[in-house]
Every structure is written in C-alpha cells, then in structure tokens.
Symmetry: C2
Subunit: 356 residues, 2 copies
C-alpha cells in the first residue's frame, strides 16, 4: 500500500501546503514538525509524519545556517577505537567548515529514541553512525528532511542498502598469517573474534586460505573464538599454550586480544617473541606502546572517518556514490614476531589460579 502510493505518485511532489491541508493543520505546524520543534502535540506530529512518509516528501531547501553541523553517533565511546574515527571525521568536517556534534547513544542496533528529536532540531548536513544502524522509521524521518547518513562498520556486516565504510578483513587475515609463515612458523594458532561477527569470520577465512596456499594443514584445535577483549585473548591463549603440541605463533583477532595473549605467555613463563610470536589486528595506539611493540594489521580508522564524511557530502550533493566502501588493510611489523624457537617443550601443569 505504501509502495503502491509511492509508485503512483512518483512524478509529482507533494507540497507542504498540501500536507497541511490533508492533516487539517496550519502550514506553520507542518514546518514545526519538519524542524523537530517540540511545541506540537504527539497526535498531530504523528499525523504529519505519516503524511510526509506516505507521500515520500523530500525537503528541497537547505537550512541557511552558517555553521553547519555533522552528527557523529557512537553507541559506545571506547578509548581504543573511537578516537581515530573521531579525528578522521573532525579533520574532514573542518576542511568543509563544518562542526561535529558527538553523541553516545543507544545500542549496537540504533541510537536511543530521543536522539532523533535533537537531530531534527539541529538540521545537520548529515549523520554518521559508528557500529550501529537506524530503525526504518528514523531513516524515513531523515529522508523527508534530506539529511543523508552513512554507517562506519568495521565489523563488516552492514545492511545492504545502507551507505557504509569498512575495511578489508579477509586480506588482513591473509597478510598476518603469511607473515608468520614467512618467518618459519608451521604451528600457527588463531584467536579470532566472536563467532557471530562477520569480520571475525573473514579474518579466520583469510588465515585458512594463507595456510592452504602455503600447503600447511590447519589444525582445528588451533582455532579459537574470542570476544575482541583482553580477557578473551588471555583465556583462549592459555588453552592453546597448554596443548601438548602448542603453537609457536598466535594470530589474535584484535590488538586487545593480542595483549591478552601476551599476558598469557607471561603467566606461562614464555617470552614474546623468543618463545611465542604474536600478531594483532587493528593497529590502535596500544599496539605501538605494548612491550614488546605489537606486530599487527593496520586498519585505516582515521581514513575511514574521512571517507564517511566524503560519502556524506556526495550523498548530500546528490552525486552518485558507492553504497559500500572497504579500505585496504596493511601489515605493520614491530617486535612481537620472530622465527620460531628450535624446539618447543610443553608447559608445566597450570597453577591452581591463573586468571587475569
């Protein structure tokens, strides 16, 4: 029914005056709803929103503001990931004389319900969501105001019809594993991310392909799923290091997990890289600062933030734009990887308590 009306009226734009007439309210009330003003009753607001949606109304005039805003929304501001993304968005916004409104709101699935009201009031030039998405109703509200949005989703699982920026996870998994093979490792373990996150699977597939290409069997007992946090890396690495034929190298699915792997090595009395090589994934600042410095796969987080702004500006200008963009990853070699030891001996039995 909704689609039918859209199709039938595709050639004619509805005016705000017509919306006002159909809703039985004044033009100024319709305008208030469009601009997110709060002095309209919920019932009237709902009626106007539904009419705007039914007729696929698209605002064509822009707010004549001199200090344009870009909304940047995280469902969680964590200190590992967020800052580089923020800097990328900030830098490119500034280059276009725009300021960034930063919001932490909602969950992995959507910002909190009250978030959209502020956005409609501020009339930003666009919205960038990190690791999140939008309910359809909100997408339509933004659409009616011609406010474009882009999702930054390094996890690699965006909705297909939503403009998004990610990075090349499979290739990163290949690069990390090849580096270890080239150093001479044959028993290579992996602690990838959670089993239900697409980028974990892409990195794992990259690992398997690199092993296959080198003619190496991949031993299923050397594959573990973590949680992308230090704790998961630690726990899964302790399991791997206590195997009778333990790995001489571990590819950790994130830098945080790699720190957990290094702590597991320390607790097990193994030196990194002399006894165990460790490769991370992300190349966030902590990778550079860890002791020893972490060899890892660089995700271009700052560039992803910049690209999201570019995509937003293209969408706003009505220019053609790809829907999904994946930026390249690259290996950064530091000090946590080395050739394998001549001979590995199994570890002594574990101590009674050895949690983080």
């Amino acid at each position: 029914m909704l689609l039918g009306m859209r199709d039938g009226e595709a050639n004619r734009r509805i005016t705000l005056a017509e919306v006002a007439q159909q809703a039985g309210v004044s033009l100024s009330t319709v305008s208030k709803v469009l601009n997110g003003r709060q002095d309209v009753s919920p019932a009237t607001r709902g009626k106007v929103e539904r009419l705007l949606e039914t007729h696929s109304y698209r605002r064509t005039t822009r707010a004549a503001r001199e200090a344009p805003l870009i909304e940047l929304v995280f469902h969680e501001l964590d200190s590992v990931w967020s800052m580089e993304l923020i800097r990328g968005v900030e830098n490119l916004a500034k280059a276009h004389q725009a300021s960034v409104v930063l919001t932490e709101s909602g969950t992995r699935h959507a910002p909190a319900a009250d978030w959209i009201e502020g956005v409609l009031q501020r009339r930003p030039i666009g919205v960038i969501l990190v690791f999140s998405s939008l309910p359809d109703a909100v997408k339509r509200q933004l659409g009616a105001r011609s406010i474009p949005f882009v999702i930054i989703d390094p996890a690699g699982d965006p909705e297909p019809d939503v403009p998004s920026v990610g990075s090349a996870n499979w290739s990163g998994g290949v690069a990390a594993t090849r580096h270890l093979i080239d150093l001479g490792h044959r028993r290579i373990g992996i602690v990838t991310g959670p089993e239900d996150v697409l980028c974990s699977l892409a990195r794992l597939d990259g690992y398997r392909s690199a092993m296959n290409m080198a003619g190496l069997d991949h031993d299923a007992s050397l594959v573990r799923f973590g949680d992308f946090h230090v704790e998961g890396g630690y726990e899964r690495a302790v399991e791997l290091l206590r195997l009778p034929d333990r790995p001489t190298a571990i590819f950790a699915g994130s830098d945080l997990q790699a720190l957990g792997v290094m702590e597991a090595a320390r607790v097990c009395g193994l030196r990194v890289p002399e006894d165990l090589s460790v490769v991370g994934y992300d190349d966030v600042m902590i990778a550079r600062w860890s002791s020893p410095g972490l060899t890892t796969v660089h995700q271009p987080l700052r560039e992803m933030g910049e690209e999201a702004v570019q995509m937003l500006l293209r969408l706003r200008a009505g220019e053609p734009s790809v829907t999904r963009m994946e930026l390249a990853t690259s290996l950064v070699v530091r000090k946590s990887t080395a050739p394998p030891p001549d001979r590995t001996v199994p570890l002594a039995p574990p101590p009674a308590h050895s949690t983080l």
Copy 2:
C-alpha cells in the same frame, strides 16, 4: 582607560540601541555581530565589538533554542586522555538535554582564530577547553554574549582568574611512592614529566616528601625528567637501570612513561615485577591492559569532565562557583609492583643499539 570606563559605568547597563547609535549602524547590524553572522564588514564588526567591550556589554536574553549545545575544545585529540574526558562531558551534557560539539583546534595556548566565529553563531550554553586557554579578546567576546567557559587542566597550571578543573597531583605522588616503600623498596627511582610542567613538579615533590617521611634519603641520581610519552620513559629508565646501584622500583610520571619503563626493563633482561617494580600515573585504559597490569595512580578524568559541565551550568545560572577545583587521585594496585628482589646485580654493558 578601559578599566576606568568600566568602573565609571558600573551601575548602568548599555543597551544595544545605544551601541548601534554610537557605532552609527542599525540595531540589526549590532545583532548580527552579536550572533557571529558573517554578512557584516570587518570594519563595522570591529567597531561594534570595541563598543561592546568598552561598555562591558552583557547579553541578558538567552537563545531560545531547544537543542542546546556545549562546545568542547581540544588542541589535540589523543587516544589516551581525551576519551574519558569526552565521556564525562557527554554524559553530563546529555543529562541536561544538551549536545556536545567537539572541536580539535589550535595549540596549547588557544584555539585557532577562526574557531570563535563558529561558536558565536552556534550560541552554545558554554565552552569547555581541555589543556588550553583563551586570548583575552576571545574571553571578552564570550563575556559579551554571556557564554561561560571552564578549563580542564590536569597539568595543574591554569590562569588564576579562570574557572578550572584539575586533580591532586602532589597527593598522587605521595601515594605512589608510599606504596613502593611499604613493599620494602629503598632504592626508588622516578621518571617524572617535563621540568616545565607544574604537575610534573607536584608529583616529584610528592615523591620526595614520601621518601622524607619514611626517613629515606632521596638520591638525586635517581630523579629524571621525561616527556610524558613512551619514548621518554624508555630512555630515562635505561639510564636508571644502568646505574651501578640501580633502583629496584621506578615511579613513572605517566602511564605512557611506565610502558616505556617496562620496555626498558624487557630490553635490559629484567622481569616486571620480579626484578623491577613499576608504578604509573593516570590510570588510562592501557594501564589495565599492559602485561603485567600496571599499578598506577588513578586520575578521575571522567569525573573531571562531568565537574566541568557542572561548573559551566553554575556559571551560566549566575550561581557562586569555586574558580579552581581539584579532584582526588587514588592508587590502583595491579601486577607491576612486588617486594624487591633479595639482591640486585648491575646489568651487563649495553648493546650497541638499543633504542625503541
């Protein structure tokens, strides 16, 4: 002269109409200048700004905006410090239905010159600067628009007349040093921050006082000044560890420096904490994730961000507010500290190249 006029006219407020008359421009032009609009010639703008300043004009009406903004300005968005401060500001702003405009601009001394124009256009409810300050002219521009500002300055060296939030550095230095003394250490080195930053000196004084209170001499050869970064911690620690009578513990003036100290220990073949205890300062996330986990002094960064918003709201409401607030620090004990080894032996001569 300026001061004289201020004093003489203290009892009478100038109106915008009078400013317009004296400047020979329309009231609407004066209003445009007040609101940061760009369609006013620089000459006219300058004339109006000078009159506003000369008469100490203070705007008394507020912008009737429904989505109020708080400006948060960093001269550098670094991933160690910034995120916790941002989260504190964001959380409390949200609790007051305000959104945060995040800007990276300028230097340690002031945001870039064009920053203020955007602020005047956006008419925020207030400005929070991190590790930075404002030129007097900008302070007056904000003052004329009744836009309060607060400085978050953990370095502990704010201008005396400026509202600011910091933390208790001297007490933190005492707590870190006492912890090492209580573990049995007597040869305790310190790598504090740069010699020209007040908080470095406060932490060093705390260290000296704790040593004195315990009846321990503080050996001047065990005191070094770093740069608050990993590199400085590494280089100064290598110097300390190669002393004939090397320290069994090092209090590093920041968590990043502590990571450098740990890397120096690793390069010198010393285990942390078995051969060397290390205490950091800040308690940023990397302290928790380092291997071993870092014992450190917790700076309440998030609370400092929250307190800055509170101070801003009090200033805006015209309520009395302290000018300088220092929040308490506390020691967090993790795994990088232990009793000293029974006997320390000097290190072997350094390798030819051992830089980070």
